[in-house]
Protein backbone atom coordinates (compact mmCIF):
# COMPACT_ATOMS: atom_id res chain seq x y z
CA UNK A 1 0.00 0.00 0.00
CA UNK A 2 1.03 3.55 -0.76
CA UNK A 3 -0.17 6.44 1.39
CA UNK A 4 -1.51 9.62 -0.17
CA UNK A 5 -2.45 12.73 1.78
CA UNK A 6 -5.08 15.00 0.26
CA UNK A 7 -5.17 18.57 1.55
CA UNK A 8 -8.62 20.12 1.16
CA UNK A 9 -8.94 23.81 0.23
CA UNK A 10 -9.86 24.60 3.86
CA UNK A 11 -6.59 23.05 5.07
CA UNK A 12 -8.07 19.81 6.39
CA UNK A 13 -6.03 16.73 5.54
CA UNK A 14 -7.03 13.18 4.81
CA UNK A 15 -4.63 10.30 4.32
CA UNK A 16 -5.71 7.23 2.36
CA UNK A 17 -4.05 4.05 1.18
CA UNK A 18 -3.95 2.75 -2.40
CA UNK A 19 -2.30 -0.05 -4.32
CA UNK A 20 0.79 0.74 -6.42
CA UNK A 21 -0.07 0.85 -10.11
CA UNK A 22 -3.29 2.79 -9.65
CA UNK A 23 -3.48 6.57 -9.98
CA UNK A 24 -3.96 9.36 -7.49
CA UNK A 25 -7.29 10.06 -9.23
CA UNK A 26 -8.40 6.48 -8.60
CA UNK A 27 -7.33 6.67 -4.95
CA UNK A 28 -9.38 9.85 -4.55
CA UNK A 29 -12.45 8.35 -6.21
CA UNK A 30 -12.20 5.13 -4.17
CA UNK A 31 -12.05 7.12 -0.95
CA UNK A 32 -14.76 9.68 -1.55
CA UNK A 33 -12.49 12.69 -2.06
CA UNK A 34 -15.19 14.73 -3.74
CA UNK A 35 -12.97 17.52 -5.09
CA UNK A 36 -11.66 14.98 -7.61
CA UNK A 37 -14.56 14.48 -10.02
CA UNK A 38 -12.74 12.63 -12.85
CA UNK A 39 -15.66 12.95 -15.22
CA UNK A 40 -13.86 11.21 -18.10
CA UNK A 41 -12.62 8.32 -16.00
CA UNK A 42 -8.90 8.91 -16.51
CA UNK A 43 -8.82 9.19 -20.31
CA UNK A 44 -7.32 12.69 -20.15
CA UNK A 45 -10.40 13.97 -21.95
CA UNK A 46 -11.41 16.48 -19.26
CA UNK A 47 -9.69 18.38 -16.45
CA UNK A 48 -11.92 17.53 -13.52
CA UNK A 49 -9.24 15.65 -11.57
CA UNK A 50 -6.96 18.71 -11.34
CA UNK A 51 -4.72 18.85 -8.26
CA UNK A 52 -1.58 20.65 -7.04
CA UNK A 53 1.40 18.51 -6.09
CA UNK A 54 3.01 19.63 -2.84
CA UNK A 55 6.28 21.51 -3.44
CA UNK A 56 8.23 18.86 -1.54
CA UNK A 57 7.03 16.17 -3.95
CA UNK A 58 7.14 17.78 -7.40
CA UNK A 59 10.51 16.26 -8.35
CA UNK A 60 9.49 12.74 -7.43
CA UNK A 61 6.05 13.02 -9.05
CA UNK A 62 7.41 14.63 -12.18
CA UNK A 63 6.07 17.40 -14.40
CA UNK A 64 3.12 17.32 -16.77
CA UNK A 65 3.73 16.63 -20.45
CA UNK A 66 2.41 18.71 -23.35
CA UNK A 67 -0.82 16.78 -23.81
CA UNK A 68 -1.65 17.10 -20.13
CA UNK A 69 -0.73 20.77 -20.26
CA UNK A 70 -3.20 21.29 -23.13
CA UNK A 71 -5.92 19.56 -21.17
CA UNK A 72 -5.25 21.72 -18.10
CA UNK A 73 -6.56 24.63 -20.18
CA UNK A 74 -9.92 23.14 -19.25
CA UNK A 75 -9.34 23.37 -15.51
CA UNK A 76 -11.70 25.63 -13.63
CA UNK A 77 -9.23 26.36 -10.84
CA UNK A 78 -6.05 28.40 -11.22
CA UNK A 79 -3.34 26.46 -13.08
CA UNK A 80 0.05 26.66 -11.36
CA UNK A 81 3.49 25.17 -12.02
CA UNK A 82 2.57 22.34 -9.67
CA UNK A 83 -0.77 21.61 -11.38
CA UNK A 84 -1.31 18.04 -12.55
CA UNK A 85 -4.18 15.89 -13.66
CA UNK A 86 -4.30 13.32 -10.89
CA UNK A 87 -5.30 10.57 -13.35
CA UNK A 88 -1.86 10.91 -14.93
CA UNK A 89 0.08 10.33 -11.69
CA UNK A 90 0.73 6.61 -11.34
CA UNK A 91 1.32 5.48 -7.78
CA UNK A 92 4.47 3.57 -6.91
CA UNK A 93 6.38 2.80 -3.72
CA UNK A 94 8.53 5.84 -4.51
CA UNK A 95 5.47 8.04 -4.00
CA UNK A 96 4.57 6.58 -0.58
CA UNK A 97 3.53 9.57 1.55
CA UNK A 98 2.85 11.91 -1.38
CA UNK A 99 0.91 15.07 -0.57
CA UNK A 100 -1.46 16.70 -3.06
CA UNK A 101 -3.53 19.85 -2.59
CA UNK A 102 -7.07 20.03 -3.93
CA UNK A 103 -8.31 23.05 -5.90
CA UNK A 104 -11.14 25.19 -4.55
CA UNK A 105 -13.09 24.77 -7.78
CA UNK A 106 -13.29 21.81 -10.12
CA UNK A 107 -15.30 22.27 -13.31
Amino acid sequence: MVEITFVHPDGNRRTVGAAPGTSIMQAARDNGINEIIAECGGAMACATCHCYVDDAWTDRVGRRDDAEDDMLDFAEGEVRDTSRLSCQIALSEALDGVIVHLPDVQG
Binding site: E39, G41, A45, A67, D70, D73
Partner: protein, 391 residues
Protein backbone atom coordinates in the same frame (compact mmCIF):
# COMPACT_ATOMS: atom_id res chain seq x y z
CA UNK B 1 -22.25 -19.21 -18.18
CA UNK B 2 -25.46 -17.35 -18.94
CA UNK B 3 -26.72 -15.56 -21.98
CA UNK B 4 -28.30 -12.15 -21.59
CA UNK B 5 -32.07 -12.40 -21.20
CA UNK B 6 -33.99 -11.24 -24.27
CA UNK B 7 -36.72 -8.62 -24.11
CA UNK B 8 -38.90 -9.18 -27.18
CA UNK B 9 -41.74 -7.05 -25.87
CA UNK B 10 -40.17 -3.63 -25.90
CA UNK B 11 -40.18 -1.58 -29.12
CA UNK B 12 -38.26 1.53 -30.10
CA UNK B 13 -41.56 3.42 -30.16
CA UNK B 14 -42.14 2.43 -26.51
CA UNK B 15 -38.65 3.61 -25.62
CA UNK B 16 -39.13 6.91 -27.45
CA UNK B 17 -42.42 7.52 -25.64
CA UNK B 18 -41.69 6.45 -22.06
CA UNK B 19 -38.15 5.12 -21.60
CA UNK B 20 -37.77 5.72 -17.89
CA UNK B 21 -40.39 3.28 -16.64
CA UNK B 22 -38.97 0.61 -18.97
CA UNK B 23 -35.41 1.23 -17.76
CA UNK B 24 -36.51 1.15 -14.12
CA UNK B 25 -37.93 -2.32 -14.61
CA UNK B 26 -34.81 -3.43 -16.49
CA UNK B 27 -32.52 -2.18 -13.70
CA UNK B 28 -34.57 -4.18 -11.24
CA UNK B 29 -35.13 -7.40 -13.18
CA UNK B 30 -32.76 -7.61 -16.18
CA UNK B 31 -30.02 -4.96 -15.91
CA UNK B 32 -28.14 -6.51 -18.85
CA UNK B 33 -30.67 -7.38 -21.53
CA UNK B 34 -30.78 -8.05 -25.24
CA UNK B 35 -33.35 -5.87 -26.98
CA UNK B 36 -33.98 -7.19 -30.51
CA UNK B 37 -35.84 -4.00 -31.48
CA UNK B 38 -32.60 -2.06 -30.99
CA UNK B 39 -30.39 -4.96 -32.17
CA UNK B 40 -28.26 -4.35 -29.11
CA UNK B 41 -27.54 -5.65 -25.62
CA UNK B 42 -28.54 -2.84 -23.30
CA UNK B 43 -26.67 -1.97 -20.11
CA UNK B 44 -28.86 -0.05 -17.68
CA UNK B 45 -26.79 0.20 -14.47
CA UNK B 46 -24.46 3.16 -13.81
CA UNK B 47 -21.51 0.95 -12.83
CA UNK B 48 -21.75 -0.97 -16.12
CA UNK B 49 -22.26 2.00 -18.45
CA UNK B 50 -19.31 3.80 -16.91
CA UNK B 51 -17.08 0.74 -17.03
CA UNK B 52 -17.82 0.27 -20.73
CA UNK B 53 -17.25 3.91 -21.64
CA UNK B 54 -13.99 4.02 -19.69
CA UNK B 55 -12.44 0.99 -21.43
CA UNK B 56 -11.96 1.82 -25.11
CA UNK B 57 -9.82 -1.24 -25.77
CA UNK B 58 -12.46 -3.77 -24.82
CA UNK B 59 -15.37 -1.59 -25.98
CA UNK B 60 -14.55 0.10 -29.28
CA UNK B 61 -16.30 3.09 -30.81
CA UNK B 62 -15.29 1.91 -34.27
CA UNK B 63 -18.42 0.65 -35.96
CA UNK B 64 -17.65 -0.58 -39.48
CA UNK B 65 -21.27 -0.46 -40.60
CA UNK B 66 -22.39 2.81 -39.03
CA UNK B 67 -24.71 4.96 -41.17
CA UNK B 68 -22.85 7.90 -39.67
CA UNK B 69 -20.00 7.41 -42.12
CA UNK B 70 -22.37 7.67 -45.07
CA UNK B 71 -24.19 10.67 -43.57
CA UNK B 72 -21.01 12.62 -42.84
CA UNK B 73 -19.23 11.35 -45.97
CA UNK B 74 -16.31 10.61 -43.63
CA UNK B 75 -15.11 8.31 -40.89
CA UNK B 76 -15.37 10.77 -37.99
CA UNK B 77 -13.68 11.00 -34.61
CA UNK B 78 -16.88 9.81 -32.94
CA UNK B 79 -16.21 6.37 -34.37
CA UNK B 80 -12.45 6.22 -33.85
CA UNK B 81 -10.34 5.05 -30.91
CA UNK B 82 -6.83 5.57 -29.58
CA UNK B 83 -4.27 8.11 -30.81
CA UNK B 84 -6.15 8.82 -34.06
CA UNK B 85 -9.25 9.82 -32.12
CA UNK B 86 -7.22 11.83 -29.64
CA UNK B 87 -5.38 13.81 -32.34
CA UNK B 88 -8.61 14.83 -34.04
CA UNK B 89 -10.33 15.63 -30.77
CA UNK B 90 -7.47 17.74 -29.42
CA UNK B 91 -7.25 19.65 -32.71
CA UNK B 92 -10.35 21.67 -31.84
CA UNK B 93 -10.45 21.27 -28.09
CA UNK B 94 -8.97 24.69 -27.40
CA UNK B 95 -11.96 26.44 -28.95
CA UNK B 96 -14.16 24.71 -26.38
CA UNK B 97 -12.06 25.47 -23.29
CA UNK B 98 -13.39 27.55 -20.38
CA UNK B 99 -10.44 29.93 -20.72
CA UNK B 100 -11.21 30.77 -24.34
CA UNK B 101 -14.88 31.10 -23.52
CA UNK B 102 -14.04 33.55 -20.77
CA UNK B 103 -11.43 35.52 -22.72
CA UNK B 104 -13.04 35.57 -26.16
CA UNK B 105 -16.67 34.68 -26.03
CA UNK B 106 -18.49 35.24 -22.74
CA UNK B 107 -19.43 38.86 -23.56
CA UNK B 108 -20.62 37.90 -27.03
CA UNK B 109 -22.71 35.03 -25.65
CA UNK B 110 -24.30 37.36 -23.11
CA UNK B 111 -25.16 39.75 -25.91
CA UNK B 112 -26.57 36.99 -28.10
CA UNK B 113 -28.67 35.65 -25.21
CA UNK B 114 -29.88 39.14 -24.40
CA UNK B 115 -30.77 39.93 -28.05
CA UNK B 116 -32.74 36.70 -28.44
CA UNK B 117 -34.63 37.38 -25.21
CA UNK B 118 -35.41 40.92 -26.41
CA UNK B 119 -37.15 39.50 -29.45
CA UNK B 120 -39.68 37.51 -27.44
CA UNK B 121 -43.12 39.13 -27.15
CA UNK B 122 -44.31 40.08 -23.64
CA UNK B 123 -47.64 39.03 -22.20
CA UNK B 124 -48.23 36.42 -24.87
CA UNK B 125 -47.95 32.69 -25.21
CA UNK B 126 -44.50 31.82 -26.53
CA UNK B 127 -42.99 28.44 -27.37
CA UNK B 128 -39.52 28.77 -25.88
CA UNK B 129 -38.42 25.53 -27.51
CA UNK B 130 -38.80 26.84 -31.06
CA UNK B 131 -38.40 30.57 -30.39
CA UNK B 132 -35.45 30.56 -28.02
CA UNK B 133 -33.75 27.25 -27.17
CA UNK B 134 -32.97 26.14 -30.74
CA UNK B 135 -31.99 29.49 -32.29
CA UNK B 136 -29.80 30.66 -29.41
CA UNK B 137 -27.95 27.31 -29.33
CA UNK B 138 -27.40 27.57 -33.10
CA UNK B 139 -26.11 31.14 -32.91
CA UNK B 140 -23.64 30.46 -30.11
CA UNK B 141 -22.34 27.34 -31.82
CA UNK B 142 -21.89 29.22 -35.10
CA UNK B 143 -19.51 31.63 -33.34
CA UNK B 144 -17.61 28.89 -31.48
CA UNK B 145 -16.96 27.13 -34.77
CA UNK B 146 -16.17 30.27 -36.78
CA UNK B 147 -19.27 30.01 -38.98
CA UNK B 148 -20.46 33.54 -38.21
CA UNK B 149 -22.23 34.05 -41.55
CA UNK B 150 -24.36 30.89 -41.33
CA UNK B 151 -27.98 31.61 -40.38
CA UNK B 152 -29.65 29.97 -37.39
CA UNK B 153 -32.00 28.20 -39.80
CA UNK B 154 -29.12 26.79 -41.86
CA UNK B 155 -27.23 25.66 -38.75
CA UNK B 156 -30.32 23.91 -37.38
CA UNK B 157 -31.18 22.33 -40.73
CA UNK B 158 -27.62 21.07 -41.31
CA UNK B 159 -27.55 19.69 -37.78
CA UNK B 160 -30.86 17.85 -38.03
CA UNK B 161 -30.03 16.51 -41.49
CA UNK B 162 -26.72 15.06 -40.24
CA UNK B 163 -28.42 13.56 -37.19
CA UNK B 164 -31.17 12.01 -39.31
CA UNK B 165 -28.57 10.55 -41.66
CA UNK B 166 -26.42 9.22 -38.80
CA UNK B 167 -29.50 7.53 -37.34
CA UNK B 168 -30.59 6.05 -40.66
CA UNK B 169 -29.94 2.46 -39.61
CA UNK B 170 -32.24 1.13 -42.33
CA UNK B 171 -30.07 2.87 -44.98
CA UNK B 172 -33.11 4.42 -46.66
CA UNK B 173 -32.28 6.67 -49.63
CA UNK B 174 -34.02 9.90 -48.70
CA UNK B 175 -32.12 10.81 -45.49
CA UNK B 176 -28.80 10.26 -47.29
CA UNK B 177 -29.92 12.34 -50.29
CA UNK B 178 -30.64 15.16 -47.84
CA UNK B 179 -27.36 14.73 -45.95
CA UNK B 180 -25.45 14.69 -49.26
CA UNK B 181 -27.07 18.00 -50.21
CA UNK B 182 -26.26 19.47 -46.79
CA UNK B 183 -22.66 18.25 -47.03
CA UNK B 184 -22.30 19.98 -50.40
CA UNK B 185 -23.66 23.22 -48.95
CA UNK B 186 -21.39 23.03 -45.91
CA UNK B 187 -18.27 22.17 -47.92
CA UNK B 188 -18.87 25.09 -50.29
CA UNK B 189 -19.42 27.44 -47.36
CA UNK B 190 -16.33 26.20 -45.49
CA UNK B 191 -14.25 26.72 -48.65
CA UNK B 192 -15.53 30.29 -48.96
CA UNK B 193 -14.54 31.28 -45.41
CA UNK B 194 -11.24 29.41 -45.21
CA UNK B 195 -9.17 32.35 -46.48
CA UNK B 196 -10.63 34.66 -43.84
CA UNK B 197 -9.75 32.30 -41.00
CA UNK B 198 -6.24 31.85 -42.38
CA UNK B 199 -5.71 35.59 -42.82
CA UNK B 200 -7.17 36.49 -39.44
CA UNK B 201 -6.41 33.70 -36.99
CA UNK B 202 -8.86 33.59 -34.10
CA UNK B 203 -10.04 31.22 -31.40
CA UNK B 204 -12.90 29.65 -33.35
CA UNK B 205 -12.62 25.90 -33.91
CA UNK B 206 -12.23 26.28 -37.68
CA UNK B 207 -9.47 28.86 -37.38
CA UNK B 208 -7.60 26.93 -34.68
CA UNK B 209 -7.62 23.78 -36.79
CA UNK B 210 -6.62 25.57 -40.01
CA UNK B 211 -3.76 27.46 -38.38
CA UNK B 212 -2.38 24.63 -36.21
CA UNK B 213 1.36 23.87 -36.40
CA UNK B 214 0.55 20.38 -37.70
CA UNK B 215 -2.92 20.76 -39.15
CA UNK B 216 -5.26 17.87 -39.85
CA UNK B 217 -6.03 17.19 -43.53
CA UNK B 218 -8.75 19.59 -44.68
CA UNK B 219 -11.28 16.77 -45.05
CA UNK B 220 -10.90 15.89 -41.37
CA UNK B 221 -11.15 19.55 -40.38
CA UNK B 222 -14.44 19.71 -42.27
CA UNK B 223 -15.76 16.52 -40.69
CA UNK B 224 -14.79 17.75 -37.20
CA UNK B 225 -16.80 20.93 -37.82
CA UNK B 226 -19.71 18.84 -39.06
CA UNK B 227 -19.58 16.63 -35.97
CA UNK B 228 -19.76 19.76 -33.85
CA UNK B 229 -22.74 21.02 -35.88
CA UNK B 230 -24.47 17.66 -35.57
CA UNK B 231 -23.70 17.33 -31.88
CA UNK B 232 -23.73 20.91 -30.66
CA UNK B 233 -27.22 22.31 -31.25
CA UNK B 234 -29.87 19.80 -30.21
CA UNK B 235 -28.11 18.94 -26.96
CA UNK B 236 -27.87 22.46 -25.49
CA UNK B 237 -31.34 23.18 -26.93
CA UNK B 238 -32.83 20.14 -25.20
CA UNK B 239 -30.84 20.72 -22.01
CA UNK B 240 -32.08 24.32 -21.76
CA UNK B 241 -35.70 23.36 -22.45
CA UNK B 242 -35.53 20.47 -19.96
CA UNK B 243 -34.06 22.61 -17.17
CA UNK B 244 -36.56 25.42 -17.80
CA UNK B 245 -39.40 22.91 -17.59
CA UNK B 246 -37.96 21.37 -14.42
CA UNK B 247 -37.72 24.75 -12.72
CA UNK B 248 -41.08 26.08 -13.95
CA UNK B 249 -42.90 22.96 -12.85
CA UNK B 250 -41.23 23.09 -9.42
CA UNK B 251 -41.72 26.73 -8.35
CA UNK B 252 -40.43 26.23 -4.80
CA UNK B 253 -37.14 24.89 -6.21
CA UNK B 254 -36.99 27.77 -8.66
CA UNK B 255 -37.31 30.28 -5.80
CA UNK B 256 -34.54 28.55 -3.88
CA UNK B 257 -32.31 28.43 -6.98
CA UNK B 258 -32.82 32.16 -7.50
CA UNK B 259 -32.16 32.92 -3.83
CA UNK B 260 -28.97 30.87 -3.67
CA UNK B 261 -27.94 31.41 -7.31
CA UNK B 262 -27.70 27.64 -7.68
CA UNK B 263 -27.85 27.81 -11.49
CA UNK B 264 -25.01 25.35 -11.98
CA UNK B 265 -26.75 22.83 -9.73
CA UNK B 266 -29.97 23.34 -11.72
CA UNK B 267 -28.02 22.69 -14.91
CA UNK B 268 -26.46 19.45 -13.62
CA UNK B 269 -29.79 18.20 -12.27
CA UNK B 270 -31.60 18.95 -15.54
CA UNK B 271 -29.14 17.00 -17.69
CA UNK B 272 -29.12 14.18 -15.15
CA UNK B 273 -32.93 14.06 -15.04
CA UNK B 274 -33.43 13.86 -18.82
CA UNK B 275 -30.07 13.42 -20.54
CA UNK B 276 -30.20 14.95 -24.05
CA UNK B 277 -28.13 12.00 -25.30
CA UNK B 278 -29.68 8.92 -23.73
CA UNK B 279 -27.68 6.04 -25.17
CA UNK B 280 -24.43 5.17 -26.98
CA UNK B 281 -23.08 2.10 -28.74
CA UNK B 282 -19.79 0.25 -28.29
CA UNK B 283 -18.51 -2.85 -30.11
CA UNK B 284 -17.06 -5.66 -27.99
CA UNK B 285 -13.53 -6.59 -29.08
CA UNK B 286 -13.09 -9.75 -26.95
CA UNK B 287 -15.51 -12.27 -25.44
CA UNK B 288 -15.93 -11.88 -21.68
CA UNK B 289 -18.58 -11.66 -18.98
CA UNK B 290 -20.21 -8.75 -17.18
CA UNK B 291 -21.70 -9.77 -13.83
CA UNK B 292 -21.95 -13.39 -14.97
CA UNK B 293 -23.58 -12.62 -18.34
CA UNK B 294 -21.78 -13.72 -21.51
CA UNK B 295 -20.70 -10.83 -23.71
CA UNK B 296 -19.56 -12.33 -27.06
CA UNK B 297 -16.90 -10.74 -29.26
CA UNK B 298 -18.33 -8.53 -31.99
CA UNK B 299 -21.68 -7.76 -30.38
CA UNK B 300 -22.77 -4.17 -29.94
CA UNK B 301 -23.54 -3.00 -26.44
CA UNK B 302 -25.75 -0.03 -25.82
CA UNK B 303 -24.92 1.96 -22.70
CA UNK B 304 -28.06 3.67 -21.48
CA UNK B 305 -26.83 6.84 -19.78
CA UNK B 306 -30.44 7.87 -19.24
CA UNK B 307 -30.91 4.82 -17.05
CA UNK B 308 -27.54 5.19 -15.31
CA UNK B 309 -28.62 8.70 -14.32
CA UNK B 310 -31.70 7.30 -12.56
CA UNK B 311 -29.89 4.31 -11.00
CA UNK B 312 -31.14 3.62 -7.47
CA UNK B 313 -27.54 2.82 -6.45
CA UNK B 314 -26.72 6.51 -6.81
CA UNK B 315 -29.95 8.50 -6.86
CA UNK B 316 -32.99 8.39 -4.60
CA UNK B 317 -36.20 9.03 -6.56
CA UNK B 318 -34.14 9.62 -9.68
CA UNK B 319 -37.29 10.15 -11.75
CA UNK B 320 -37.92 13.43 -9.91
CA UNK B 321 -36.31 16.78 -10.75
CA UNK B 322 -34.63 17.87 -7.52
CA UNK B 323 -31.92 20.50 -7.78
CA UNK B 324 -31.03 20.04 -4.12
CA UNK B 325 -30.68 16.26 -4.14
CA UNK B 326 -27.60 14.57 -2.67
CA UNK B 327 -24.77 15.00 -5.16
CA UNK B 328 -23.65 11.98 -7.15
CA UNK B 329 -21.86 11.69 -10.49
CA UNK B 330 -24.18 11.58 -13.50
CA UNK B 331 -23.18 10.39 -16.97
CA UNK B 332 -25.08 12.84 -19.15
CA UNK B 333 -21.80 13.83 -20.81
CA UNK B 334 -20.61 10.24 -21.03
CA UNK B 335 -17.26 9.10 -19.68
CA UNK B 336 -13.90 7.94 -20.98
CA UNK B 337 -12.02 9.14 -24.09
CA UNK B 338 -15.24 10.24 -25.84
CA UNK B 339 -16.45 12.31 -22.88
CA UNK B 340 -18.43 15.22 -24.38
CA UNK B 341 -16.04 17.86 -25.72
CA UNK B 342 -18.71 20.52 -25.35
CA UNK B 343 -19.49 19.83 -21.68
CA UNK B 344 -17.78 22.96 -20.39
CA UNK B 345 -19.24 25.14 -23.13
CA UNK B 346 -22.72 23.86 -22.24
CA UNK B 347 -22.16 24.49 -18.54
CA UNK B 348 -21.05 28.06 -19.23
CA UNK B 349 -23.53 29.04 -21.90
CA UNK B 350 -26.65 27.29 -20.62
CA UNK B 351 -25.93 27.07 -16.89
CA UNK B 352 -24.10 30.29 -16.16
CA UNK B 353 -25.33 32.68 -18.86
CA UNK B 354 -28.74 31.67 -20.20
CA UNK B 355 -30.58 30.39 -17.12
CA UNK B 356 -30.06 33.35 -14.78
CA UNK B 357 -30.64 35.84 -17.60
CA UNK B 358 -33.96 34.29 -18.63
CA UNK B 359 -35.38 34.35 -15.10
CA UNK B 360 -34.04 37.83 -14.45
CA UNK B 361 -35.71 39.10 -17.62
CA UNK B 362 -38.98 37.22 -17.07
CA UNK B 363 -39.35 36.74 -13.31
CA UNK B 364 -43.02 35.80 -13.57
CA UNK B 365 -42.75 33.41 -16.49
CA UNK B 366 -45.23 30.54 -16.22
CA UNK B 367 -46.00 27.35 -18.11
CA UNK B 368 -49.26 27.61 -20.08
CA UNK B 369 -51.55 25.52 -17.86
CA UNK B 370 -53.72 23.88 -20.53
CA UNK B 371 -50.95 22.92 -22.94
CA UNK B 372 -49.16 19.67 -22.36
CA UNK B 373 -45.41 19.54 -22.83
CA UNK B 374 -44.62 16.54 -25.04
CA UNK B 375 -41.45 14.56 -24.36
CA UNK B 376 -40.01 12.34 -27.03
CA UNK B 377 -36.94 10.36 -27.99
CA UNK B 378 -34.94 7.21 -27.46
CA UNK B 379 -31.38 8.06 -28.58
CA UNK B 380 -31.84 11.78 -28.10
CA UNK B 381 -34.53 13.06 -25.76
CA UNK B 382 -36.12 16.32 -24.71
CA UNK B 383 -39.38 18.25 -24.81
CA UNK B 384 -40.81 19.01 -28.25
CA UNK B 385 -42.50 22.19 -27.06
CA UNK B 386 -42.28 24.56 -24.11
CA UNK B 387 -45.29 26.88 -24.09
CA UNK B 388 -44.98 29.68 -21.54
CA UNK B 389 -46.47 33.07 -20.83
CA UNK B 390 -43.91 35.83 -20.44
CA UNK B 391 -44.97 38.50 -17.98
Amino acid sequence: MAQAPINEAVSLADLARDPYSIYRRMRLETPIVEVPAARRIMLTKAKHTRMVKDNAELYSSDDPVTPMQRAFQAHTLMRKDGPEHRAERMAMQKALSPKVIKSDWAELYRKIASDYLDRLPRGERVDLFTDLCGPVAARILAHILGLDEASDADMMRWSQTLIDGAGNFGFAEDPFAKSDAANAEMNAYFDRIEARHRAEPNNSAFSIMLNAANPLPIGQIHSNIKIAIGGGINEPRDALATILYGLLSNPEQLEEVKRTEAWSDAFEEGVRWVAPIQASSRRVTEAHQIDGIDIPEGVTLMTIQASANHDEDLFENGHLFDVFRKKAPHQAFGSGPHHCSGAQVARKTVGEIMLPMIFERFPNMELVPDEKVIWHGFGFRGPLNLPVTLN
